[in-house]
């Protein structure tokens, strides 16, 4: 059996592809691109939520939010490690992020303008992410699938926390309810767009499904998310900002309006409300930290040579 046949047979048998296994170069590149993009999203995703840590309205909410943002950094670390098994270093990936050669989820290019955004981001953005990630626990690349199992557990916790913030606001004062509705109005459509372009226009979907990287298509996942989320909005007493939203009893699905793909592509291509500041912030932190990383390396080198000297001395 040649290498390609062996790879195909493993996919067909639903066995995982592991880092030391032979894989087509395009599969490797696709996996690196996807895992890196996911890792970058976790890292950039710290910014919009980190934005409210210093202003969280209670100490309990502050603690929950800090823990959540910490989880995201942890997910990033975990995912960069998974990408590294494919023969790329974290420094290379960071550089690709900083220079715009790799992307992160466009959802983080929208600003968090009120406390309710901490609820809406958890409820909708994490909710959409989980819908996608539950599928990815069955993805064909082993390290990515295993990372997803752990990440999904924490993400579903975040999603519940976000929903709970919304619930508290919706049971609160008029101003709090208005804040919650405004957050839903702003995050609804970008959340639907998170699943990516429609299947018919998605450049990667067909190949990714064939490689069992994706197990469901963008449109299927989007539908699943809408079906799950609309009843939750009803419990909150909030209105989804879509006049075309309607329950299709025959299909047992919600039908929803047309996503503004021009807006989506504009944000993907770099002209969203926060693209520039998100990357600028990340690059600044990295550059400001250069002297710290250099000092750590220098000190480690010196400590290693001192240990060697000491060991050599002992041998003599």
């Amino acid at each position: 059996m040649n290498l390609q046949d062996d790879f195909d047979a493993r996919l067909a048998a639903d066995r995982k592809i592991e880092p030391r296994d032979w894989m087509p170069e395009k599969y490797r590149k696709t996996m690196i691109r996807q895992i890196a993009q996911h890792a970058h999203s976790e890292i950039i995703g710290q910014q919009p939520e980190g934005n409210w840590i210093t202003r969280a309205p209670t100490l309990k909410r502050k603690a929950i939010l800090m823990a959540k943002v910490q989880d995201e950094a942890g997910h990033g670390l975990y995912l960069y490690s998974a990408a590294e098994t494919l023969g790329v270093s974290r420094d290379e990936l960071m550089d690709m992020l900083h220079t715009g050669r790799q992307k992160y989820s466009s959802i983080f290019n929208y600003p968090t303008l009120s406390w309710a955004d901490m609820g809406a981001v958890g409820w909708l953005v994490d909710g959409a992410a989980i819908t996608n990630q539950v599928m990815l626990t069955r993805t064909s690349f082993g390290p990515y699938a295993r990372a997803m199992i752990r990440i999904c557990k924490e993400e579903s916790f975040h999603q519940r926390q976000g929903y709970e913030i919304m619930l508290t606001l919706c049971n609160g004062t008029e101003a709090q309810k208005a804040m919650a509705q405004d957050a839903l109005d702003r995050w609804w459509w970008p959340s639907l767009a998170m699943f990516g372009p429609p299947d018919a226009e998605s450049t990667h979907t067909a190949q990714s499904v064939a490689w069992k990287i994706k197990r469901e298509t963008n449109d299927e996942l989007r539908q699943k998310f809408v079906d799950m989320t609309v009843p939750q909005a009803e419990i909150l007493g909030l209105t989804i900002p879509d006049p075309d939203l309607v329950w299709d009893a025959d299909a047992e699905h919600y039908r929803f309006g047309e996503i503004d793909w021009d807006d989506f592509w504009q944000v993907v291509k770099g002209d969203g409300p926060c693209n520039r500041e998100r990357i600028a912030h990340k690059v600044k932190a990295w550059e400001d930290g250069a002297w710290v990383r250099e000092a750590a390396v220098e000190h480690a080198k010196r400590a290693a040579s001192t240990t060697k000297l000491a060991a050599g001395g002992a041998a003599l």
Partner: protein, 249 residues
């Protein structure tokens, strides 16, 4: 305010204010590991603050809860030492502030575990484990930066120079500490100082740093006479809470 309530708030406020400062840094650290660490340490301090506020709430005649203590008091009512309200500055300043606080909190909490006050003993028994870990981390950074490159050495030296006078405020003692220490409840800060000094001498020696000999200390935090920095930190922290009086979050 009873001496015990004052004492408890002094320690609650140290932890809340430093947690608030660390919270400002998330997603701005030199690498991913430090982003995780800064959140972790910040969360520990926030947790310690909440334990102290919890106890303060029981001692308070008005039964104010943790959020009322954190969000409804003004600058003059906060009782933290001036060290913790100092700005993050660069990475060296952040780590030096942390190191000075850790070098104080470890012996403080160790002594507090022997308090005749069961609540203080219980709170510090948990906190001391966290403080030891914080000290290990911040000491390692002070050494790395001090004995790293000429640039890092210069930056950490500047941080020592800037922060040293505020570290003195950690050891402020008045009737509150002295009275409660006499009755076996509080820790007399003077008894913590030798351990603090020894830790500083030890770590600074490994970091090629000299311990400043300037005896000046900027006191006042424990009685609400703060540096101007706190007046900027509090409005940010309290803005949302105060904009919606009586709301539940």
């Amino acid at each position: 305010m009873s001496p015990l309530l004052t004492y408890v708030l002094r320690h609650a406020d140290d932890n809340l204010i430093v947690a608030q400062r660390l919270g400002e840094l998330i997603a701005s650290m030199p690498d991913l590991e430090e982003d995780i660490a800064v959140a972790n340490v910040g969360l520990d301090h926030l947790g310690q603050a909440r334990h102290f506020y919890d106890y303060a709430s029981e001692l308070d005649p008005d039964s104010r809860d943790e959020d009322q203590f954190a969000m409804e008091r003004s600058e003059r009512e906060f009782l933290n030492a001036t060290l913790v309200e100092q700005p993050n500055g660069d990475f060296a300043q952040t780590q030096m502030r942390q190191f000075l606080l850790d070098a104080y909190q470890v012996p403080l909490y160790e002594a507090m575990t022997a308090s005749d006050d069961a609540r203080l003993a219980a709170i510090s028994a948990k906190a001391v484990k966290e403080a030891r870990y914080h000290l290990e981390r911040s000491s390692a950074w002070v050494v790395r930066l001090g004995a790293g490159t000429p640039v890092s050495h210069e930056k950490i030296s500047q941080a020592v120079e800037y922060l040293w006078p505020y570290a003195g405020d950690l050891f402020y003692a008045d009737d509150v500490e002295e009275g409660l220490a006499a009755s076996g409840v509080a820790v007399d800060p003077a008894t913590v100082r030798p351990t603090f000094d020894a830790t500083v001498a030890d770590v600074f020696a490994s970091a090629n740093l000299s311990v400043p000999d300037d005896p000046y200390a900027r006191m006042g935090g424990r009685t609400g006479f703060h540096t101007e920095h706190l007046g900027h930190l509090l409005p940010e922290m309290q803005s949302l809470y105060r904009a919606h009086p009586g709301a539940t979050w």
